[in-house]
């Protein structure tokens, strides 16, 4: 399975993608540094809000989307999935390896800029750990969902971007109903509870349910991807 892991990693990781997201991550860090030098009174809250809006609502889902949809999705669309699909390997193992390969690149890309942002803003250790938990769990959930999405949907990247921008970053922040169907809602709730911060005008989910939902979305995403892979018509 190590050979499969390496091939899946090489399929999704390109120099262009890495550079683009390193630049985007650096932009978040730049904003964090700007908070440090401009806001002496409310630095913790400002950093928390910036991480929620810039990282959890946009950066994390887009990073997960790009690498997840290309993992098995690119193989399906260019026809090379056949070389994996035809082998006598349990489908759940293939999906687990695909998720592991995607997380290998997405977790550092989402966690490092978030950690650096907390440090550069001069925020508390509490926010550091809250950011770590919320970002890691949100990345896992998005990766699980988008891997199956990439396998099933043509032009998954475009539709996924629409979903992230319109739903996760837009509609989900308007009301309680849409928020309940948004990964971001549970990630920001977890971030808020663990860092003892609240977002103005936002109904947060409780800490326990937020954690459970993020883990459940990850598991359900992985299971659905396994089912899709098993039933997939392969070119």
């Amino acid at each position: 399975m190590i050979a499969l892991y390496r091939i899946l990693l090489r399929t999704s990781v390109t120099r262009g993608r890495l550079l683009a997201f390193l630049a985007a991550g650096a932009l978040i860090d730049l904003i964090a540094y700007a908070i440090r030098v401009s806001d002496y009174t409310n630095r913790e809250t400002s950093t928390f809000q910036m991480l929620d809006v810039a990282a959890l609502a946009l950066y994390v889902p887009v990073v997960a989307l790009v690498f997840s949809t290309s993992s098995l999705g690119d193989l399906a669309s260019d026809g090379t999935l056949v070389y994996i699909w035809l082998r006598p390997v349990a489908r759940w193992k293939v999906v687990l390896v695909a998720l592991a390969a995607t997380l290998t690149v997405t977790l550092p890309l989402t966690l490092l800029p978030s950690w650096l942002a907390v440090l550069l803003a001069g925020a508390s250790l509490q926010l550091f750990w809250a950011t770590t938990a919320a970002t890691a769990l949100a990345t896992g959930a998005y990766v699980a969902v988008f891997t199956g999405f990439g396998l099933r949907v043509r032009h998954a990247l475009i539709f996924g971007l629409g979903y992230v921008v319109i739903w996760e970053a837009g509609i989900a922040s308007i009301g309680k109903g849409p928020a309940a169907l948004s990964i971001r809602h549970y990630a920001e709730s977890l971030l808020g509870h663990l860092s003892h911060q609240t977002l103005p005008g936002v109904d947060q989910a409780d800490q326990g349910p937020a954690l459970v939902v993020l883990v459940a979305v990850t598991l359900v995403g992985a299971v659905l991807t396994t089912v899709l892979l098993a039933r997939q018509d392969v070119a």
Partner: protein, 305 residues
């Protein structure tokens, strides 16, 4: 080893396969048909890559779509040319071996790559390989676990004549060793080299099956339409009607006539005799329906009730 029973496959309103039944045993069998005949659809169904819309396929008496265990016995060369990016031949074939659960995938991969006459120590990525080399890598990954059944979709595409011959010899040897080897092709001459056992697929239907020479004879005995241009077409037309080898003649302008015949060889002999005897100049002789498409169409029409 492979049992195909009344298989049909359609995509929306497009019928790719219709009522195909065949049994494929050990040895080499060629699946012949023009592009778009349904060969790849049938191969994908045999490999379990898609399910038939109707009918059943059994490979080693198991359902290849739902019984993953049967894939251990299958080696497949798919039609698409693309190979995974960023890997060399050894890594790619070793991955196939590892996924097959081989104890030493690297060793098996080296052996398979050498079998197709490539260099396992070539560290270049597959994207830099020529079409023929990529085709041989595809064959190597199908052979790496020494499968009982090999399903090869147009495996000789892109190979130079020497490699084509070498790979054809390999397939013949693998078939002679008792494996079930199914090779698809749209080239009649290629199939002639490969196998005496042929399935002919055309317009999604099994147009003919059995010994290649019998099918070849069938193709030669079909009605032919030939255009002849000569110095005196009317004289030639009336002389040809008297030979008994021509069923119809029509003028086609530009000193040309078009004739229909069921007896190609006697017709040719008579034509040469008449041209000499009547002191005519034969300027052109071109078959109008000798392309594979029309040949296969004839076979389908002949088999239809």
């Amino acid at each position: 080893m492979i049992q195909i029973t009344n298989v049909a496959k359609w995509f929306g309103e497009v019928v790719a396969l219709s009522g195909v039944s065949a049994t494929i045993g050990p040895g080499l069998t060629a699946l012949l048909g023009p592009n778009g005949a349904g060969k790849s659809s049938l191969i994908r169904i045999i490999c379990g890559l898609t399910s038939p819309s109707q009918g059943t396929v059994r490979v080693l008496e198991r359902d290849p779509r739902n019984d993953g265990g049967v894939r251990r016995f299958l080696g497949v060369v798919p039609q698409q040319e693309k190979l995974p990016p960023g890997v060399n031949a050894l890594e790619f074939v070793a991955m196939a071996g590892a996924l097959e659960g081989l104890p030493d995938p690297a060793f098996a991969a080296r052996h398979a790559i050498l079998t197709v006459e490539l260099d396992p120590d070539d560290r270049r990525h597959l994207s830099s390989y020529s079409k023929g080399m990529r085709q041989r890598v595809k064959i190597a990954q199908a052979l790496v676990h020494d499968p009982k059944i090999l399903v090869l979709d147009e495996p000789l595409n892109g190979l130079d004549p020497r490699q084509r011959t070498r790979m054809a010899e390999l397939f013949i040897r693998l078939g002679a060793e008792g494996r079930c080897v199914l090779v698809s092709s749209h080239v009649l001459e290629e199939v002639q080299e490969l196998s005496s056992n042929v399935l002919v697929l055309a317009e999604g239907k099994l147009a003919a099956e059995g010994d290649f020479h019998a099918i070849r004879q069938l193709l030669d005995d079909r009605p032919h339409r030939i255009r002849l241009r000569s110095s005196d077409p009317l004289k030639l037309a009336s002389a040809l009607m008297g030979t008994g080898t021509v069923s119809a003649v029509q003028t086609a302008g530009d000193n040309a006539i078009v004739i229909d015949t069921w007896k190609v060889s006697p017709f040719r002999r008579q034509l040469l005799r008449l041209v000499q005897q009547l002191d005519l100049h034969l300027l052109e002789m071109s078959p109008l329906d000798d392309d594979l498409e029309s040949v296969f169409r004839y076979l389908v029409a002949r088999r239809s009730p």
